[in-house]
């Protein structure tokens, strides 16, 4: 939660600055963002590769565990197909790109801004923040009505870190490993899905 607040403050600080101050062009161009994004992805890669807990947790599970991220991917994209039919003023790939953030708002917003423009990027940011918030706030209700996997699936890419404590509490300790593996796999998939839908 503290992280989310800081993120919101950074974003809002930027909005204020961009709105009311005349900034030099370097801050408005895409180059600076792109290089920071490169650095970020490299660092994220290192953190995934050097994380020993995930690998050993993965080895102890049977094939069923892969059904959980599968449900998250299929369910989210299914929802995006439906919403594109209902709303329909954007292309299907726009909705899919936003959905493919899976709650990883920072990365998906930056990606989508880079390749589809700042408007859809902002929609991705807000949409994926709402997704994380919803997982945090609604976890007990989700478990009660839709089973112990529901908050994990809603949490998307965040279930290995920010939403893990809440999931542990309401889904139970025996779902911690599932939650972590799910979080890492979905998290890893975000750049692939988002870039795929931006390219299509």
């Amino acid at each position: 939660m503290k992280g989310s607040l800081l993120i919101a403050l950074c974003f809002l600080g930027g909005v204020m600055l961009g709105r009311f101050v005349d900034l030099p062009a370097i801050f408005l161009g895409e180059e600076l963002t792109l290089y920071v994004l490169y650095a970020l992805m490299f660092l994220v890669g290192i953190s995934i590769g050097s994380d020993q807990k995930t690998l050993s947790a993965l080895k102890q599970q049977n094939w069923r565990i892969f059904l959980v991220p599968m449900a998250t991917w299929v369910g989210t994209f299914g929802g995006m197909v439906l919403i594109s039919l209902v709303l329909g003023h954007r292309s299907l790939t726009d909705y899919l790109a936003v959905g493919a953030g899976f709650g990883y708002y920072s990365l998906s917003a930056v990606f989508i801004t880079q390749y589809k423009g700042a408007e859809l990027g902002t929609i991705a940011l807000v949409s994926n923040i709402i997704r994380e918030l919803f997982a945090l706030l609604a976890a007990p209700l989700l478990v009660k009505y839709f089973g112990r996997l529901a908050p994990i699936s809603v949490g998307g890419a965040t279930t290995a870190d920010t939403t893990l404590p809440v999931i542990t509490k309401y889904s139970g300790k025996e779902f911690v490993v599932i939650s972590v593996v799910h979080g890492v796999l979905v998290d890893l998939s975000v750049p692939f899905w988002v870039s795929l839908f931006c390219a299509l």
């Binding site: 600080g13 920071v36 660092l43 994220v44 890669g45 408007e119 709402i130 809603v154 931006c198």
Partner: protein
């Protein structure tokens, strides 16, 4: 885009190769990069009049999209839970 994924993959290999090493304050650097990126995104948004004049509709659209994503995920997670995890 290939560069981005390639860099991440390179990071995974490096991280795995040197996984015994303590990567000092890696999470701190990641957070720093994310904060900086969102700050820059904020500047882009703030300087963009079209977005600033349509904040309400953007928020509403984001909310509707999220609802659909969440509903789909919950439905599939419920199916998987019911058929593969429940009796444990």
């Amino acid at each position: 885009m290939l560069i981005v994924i390639g860099l991440m993959f390179l990071g995974v290999l490096l991280g795995y190769r040197f996984r015994e090493r303590k990567w000092k304050n890696l999470q701190g650097w990641i957070s720093g990069a994310i904060f900086l990126l969102l700050f820059l995104l904020g500047i882009t948004v703030g300087a963009n009049g079209d977005i600033m004049d349509n904040l309400e509709s953007i928020g509403l659209e984001a909310f509707v999209i999220t609802s659909a994503a969440v509903a789909g995920s919950v439905f599939c997670a419920w199916i998987v839970y019911k058929f593969f995890f429940h009796e444990r």
